[in-house]
Subunit: 537 residues, 2 copies
């Protein structure tokens, strides 16, 4: 393909509708939009939508590793307990079932608890008082942030007390020399982003759920998202945490230092522990400067091999300005066209790439992008493409990647998998799964973060289909384990995947996790039934 | 200052001697260069050189928090033990005192153990056998990498068995798509760098000791170094670890995945634990692409405030290509001139800055640097400067920063401090210390990693001076704690600083560290007397 064609790509007007990024489902679905208790049946495992059938909790067969185990012998909330909570949290001890309801149900509407109490503390001291009391009374607690998790980790399984961080939403400090932000755990990610952008900084993480998810929950689940390729994981960017332990002790590791080698780095334990080891009440995080120039390119490839070669070329030629390298397959595009009426911005291809660059010099960035595209097209690695530099067009192109989840919900009941693999194996799982399932599935689609080796594999069927599920699992987990992959790249284990942990972690490691849990939360009151497998001693 | 002057800086020939980076002391001092046992007296705390006085171990007064505590009641090595070790490590169980000697003494020659056994395993299984045996026999073990640590963490305090990883030096795998390297713990950092550079990648960390230090030791001490500003800490770049626990169990967390949220991130516990929780036997690490273009600038500033403003300007204008921002003061320059005969490459100034850029396009990088220097000079933030783009000149400029440590050793007995502070407070500690000590100190110098908020404060005197030490400590620690700083930014606590941990960590956190130690190493055989304070229950 000639340079002229490439230049044409640069100038092409993006004809997409202004499908704004904030319209993606994670950020728009609010509690109010959820079904009321009266019309909200549920199921307790797998993924997908509510299935309107019975009111029985956890409809999944008990034999499924994803099903909830028996309720553990925690105390039940009494009137005396409520009186205590009302005393320390006047007006913020919620027991009205209509108000508690939305906190009992997860975003995917696949897990529903039956908690009768929602506590909304404002301070670390209040969280401490709550946990000290619950621990002494042997009351189970479900810590909850924005409740946007996808593995049933953020809602109660039975009658656990819901401890919401939503009212802990103060920004504490921001240092515009170092870029270090400290804030309470309940700050919504998008609000932090807006606050920082006014000060010429950005958050080191970004994800579809940003309009609802909270930084405390992000840290508790070690959220990945779209910027990980560039800014790394939260294990590197989180500099400090304040955590309330199960017995109410406050662990103050809220350092605002880039480097600190005084003893063991305890905060790391809580990053990704899904609220099972402590309740994160404040976060200190290192924020990058806001890039002066952002470009997004949408490209088409004939084969996944060419897509990988494009990735390598891209890393070499875009180097330090590369901030995202995402992909979707033609099946994703079909769902976007069919269910969301989003037209393909380029010609039809088997694979599509979304590349984002972020840099400090618009001219340099354009030049690098130009050189890369020229090379990618003359070497026929990519067959078509379009570029966006304006905010609205950037959002429109991003929506092709970000709205796949939404398109899937319109396609039927969805079985969702979030897999880490050596990058060269990523798409083979989709191909193998398609072949393995034959016409038993409606759609088998692959998309995700190529740059991070992270595949989102989604399989739909017209309705919930236990036979299909049995064909998918444990096939998908065994396939992943065979490549030394991870069965949960960024979503965590929560309730749904806790018992699959052994596919990615040796028993020695899982046993040690159990020891750590027993050390920090001997009564097991914090987010029970989550993360760790049922068969742990 | 005009653009012409700035352009002059670009063209100026660097007149420095070709003072090669690898000539810095950390990388050239080898075991053979150390004094033989017959002429090597020692002291056991503080810092500085050997003091030729008595042969008594740990000459530091027992009252000093840095002094070694009493020997704990571990078993002593018997002939039976040696027979066992010789059986599993034939030819690699070293008991010749002359050969064990260099492993008994730390690089600064301030701590000296009296171990009589040096074990040199080659495999993880051998490490496992050693620890299983030592744990059952209650024999203490000192894990040792390149022995380049600065806080007495890498050598035995009494007769601990030295477990060296030096022969565990195989590269296991390298994936040139993802940039993920796995290798045994004993690989020397510089060897890994050379291996990667041939493949167009680099290690995410670099430090003066690279010619001797080993990746396992780097991870065990959470080494910082010169590239942290750009590539982040090892908590983010280390993707997996294989660790042998105190009882010989092998914990396999050697994942080669960028993302993995299946349970708690156990490997994080061992990063920075200084060999007290387990022996790291293999490492998986994410390596960046080798930059196509590297530039180094050496600048002079009139005030530290201007230096900080230069840092802010630099972050904005160099953005994604900034890879280091280091500083030294005029006292450092005086020592470089006096003791190493290194001439100042620019005119005399109170403060000097070393800026490194690393990028993928030489032209773009030059342009950015040009624009930045123009702005820095027209706004009179910097008063003089010189630029290097060629490898030898780059090394020469870097040596002005890297050889300060060496210059200090020629100035007298050195008290060394490695402090993390909010970046705007960094130099105030040097000024305050100078004023506080008056003429009691020979030199009080400050240099370090401005970009990371990390000050290396060094104080010299003609000889070891307990009165001077009493004037420095606890003043330096109290000052640091007053700013919520860290008393060890990157060096760790080891033997020397273990009892100062409370200046940077609350007792709640230290107690939890003790619980973790007790859980993983109930007999306390791994690197005793290190990291954790003596008064821990």
């Amino acid at each position: 393909m000639s340079v002229c064609v490439m230049a044409g790509i640069f100038q092409r007007t993006v004809r997409l509708r202004a499908a704004l990024r904030h319209l993606c489902p994670h950020s728009t679905l609010t509690c109010a939009a959820r079904p009321s208790p009266a019309d909200s049946p549920f199921l307790a495992c797998g993924s997908g939508q509510f299935v309107a059938s019975t009111r029985k909790l956890h409809a999944e067969p008990k034999s499924s590793p994803a099903a909830a185990p028996e309720r553990l012998p925690f105390s039940r909330v009494t009137e005396e307990d409520l009186a205590y909570f009302r005393k320390i949290l006047p007006g913020r001890t919620i027991t009205d079932p209509d108000l508690v309801e939305s906190s009992n149900v997860d975003w995917l509407r696949t897990v529903k608890g039956s908690s009768e109490v929602l506590l909304r503390p404002q301070t670390t001291e209040e969280v401490s008082q709550i946990l000290r009391y619950c621990n002494s009374r042997n009351l189970a607690v479900n810590p909850q942030g924005g409740n946007t998790g996808l593995v049933g980790g953020s809602v109660p399984v039975y009658d656990e007390i819901i401890l919401s961080t939503s009212l802990m939403n103060n920004i504490l400090t921001f240092d515009n020399i170092s870029g270090i932000l400290t804030c309470q755990a309940g700050c919504v990610l998008e609000n932090l982003s807006l606050y920082l952008e006014e000060r010429d900084f950005i958050m080191p993480l970004d994800l579809g759920a940003k309009g609802s998810c909270q930084i405390g929950g992000n840290v508790a689940t070690n959220a990945g998202g779209l910027r990980l390729l560039r800014y790394g994981s939260l294990h590197g960017t989180v500099l400090g945490l304040e955590v309330v332990l199960a017995d109410g002790r406050v662990l103050d590791c809220l350092a605002t230092l880039r480097k600190d080698n005084t003893g063991y780095d305890l905060k790391q334990l809580f990053i990704g522990s899904e609220g099972t080891l402590g309740v994160i009440t404040a976060v200190s995080i290192l924020c990058p400067r806001k890039p002066k120039s952002v470009n997004v390119v949408f490209l088409g490839c004939e084969t996944f091999e060419q897509l990988l070669k494009t990735f390598q070329l891209c890393r070499g030629m875009l180097g330090e300005i590369l901030s995202a390298f995402e992909f979707l397959d033609s099946e994703c595009m079909r769902l976007l066209n069919t269910h969301l009426k989003l037209p393909n911005p380029i010609s039809d291809c088997p694979f599509y790439i979304v590349i984002e660059t972020s840099g400090s010099d618009p001219e340099h960035d354009s030049q690098k992008l130009h050189n890369f595209l020229e090379e990618a097209m003359t070497s026929t690695l990519v067959t078509d493409g379009t570029v966006a530099t304006e905010e609205s067009k950037i959002k429109a192109l991003w929506s092709m990647r970000e709205r796949v989840t939404e398109a899937l919900t319109h396609d039927g009941f969805t079985y969702k998998y979030d897999i880490s693999l050596p990058v060269e194996r990523i798409y083979q799982l989709v191909t193998d799964m398609r072949q393995h399932l034959g016409d038993r599935a409606k759609s088998v689609v692959g998309y995700g973060h190529v740059g991070d080796g992270n595949l989102h594999l989604n399989i739909t069927s017209p309705a919930k289909d236990p036979a299909l599920l049995a064909a998918i699992e444990p096939f998908v987990y065994e396939w992943t384990a065979g490549c030394q992959g991870s069965i949960s790249a960024e979503h965590g284990l929560g309730l749904k995947k806790r018992n699959y942990i052994y596919y990615s972690k040796p028993s020695q490691a899982v046993a040690l996790m159990g020891n750590i849990k027993a050390m920090l939360d001997p009564k097991g009151i914090l987010n029970p039934y989550k993360t760790l497998p049922d068969n742990l001693k």
